[in-house]
Symmetry: C2
DNA sequence: ATCGAAAATAATAATCATTACTATTTTGAG
DNA sequence: CTCAAAATAGTAATGATTATTATTTTCGAT
């Protein structure tokens, strides 16, 4: 049975009010200002719990730590190959991909994750100079 | 300047002849039969080197170790949420996704990675019993 | 063919992200 | 209120990968 915790509420609130796709470490640094004694393990445990319950999304880039997102509307992410920043991509959810993939596949496909790679606006401008 | 190494050749050959998307550890266990003294670090270094040179692909599932693939034709992968197995998905490369994503995006998108999730044929059959 | 610098290796230590453990504190149903 | 279940802080441990270092291998120049 799930019990309330002030720490978890603060973690969730941080994600709800910051759409920057923070890592566990970033969440930790920030929630620490309200709960100076909070431990990194508590942040991880609650991020996992919230992700399992479907209240937040976990974004796993190929390398480096996972990022978290409280925006539950189906959307895609962009990962900058230069600075590692995670940005939202404004495009329709491509549900048909699962159907196309299923055609020649003998198992069950329930969903897909697509990540886009390239240069974010900032890194792109820097490169141009 | 790149210099030849027997160990690297053996690693590449293993990937060329086994399309099972092995992890570094699996490659290590197998190449060890030809080079009993090879170290895991050598396997990692060469897998990274081959991936950087575009001779093999790295597949990063959200959790667990990376997998490697010598099949360079653009294709998608399926990850079984039950057993973790990585399988090839037989479908066209969806190059248009990058264009769609670019429309409302101010940076540069060079490519995308899509991973499909669900139950592999084997796990799906097991579940049905 | 052999010399020697650059590259690769084996062995091992270190790092990073994350999870596990444990004693203590907090929560909330009865 | 009571008290068991859940959550916590603090810390140790884990798994995957990278870094370090002394030694060996490769290969172009002599």
């Amino acid at each position: 049975m799930l019990k309330y915790s002030r720490q978890r509420e603060s973690i969730k609130k941080y994600l709800d009010t910051h759409r920057t796709h923070p890592t566990a470490e970033i969440v930790y640094q920030n929630v620490k200002q309200e709960f100076p004694n909070i431990s990194l393990g508590t942040v991880y445990r609650n991020l996992n719990l919230l992700a399992e319950r479907g209240e937040i999304l976990r974004i796993s880039p190929g390398n480096g730590p996972d990022h978290y997102d409280a925006d539950l509307t189906p959307h895609y992410h962009f990962l900058c190959t230069e600075c590692g920043q995670v940005l939202d991509i404004d495009m329709e959810h491509q549900a048909q991909l699962d159907d196309i993939a299923m055609k020649q596949f003998d198992g069950i496909i329930t969903n897909h994750v697509t990540q886009f790679f390239g240069l974010c606006p900032k890194c792109n401008n820097t490169k141009m100079n």
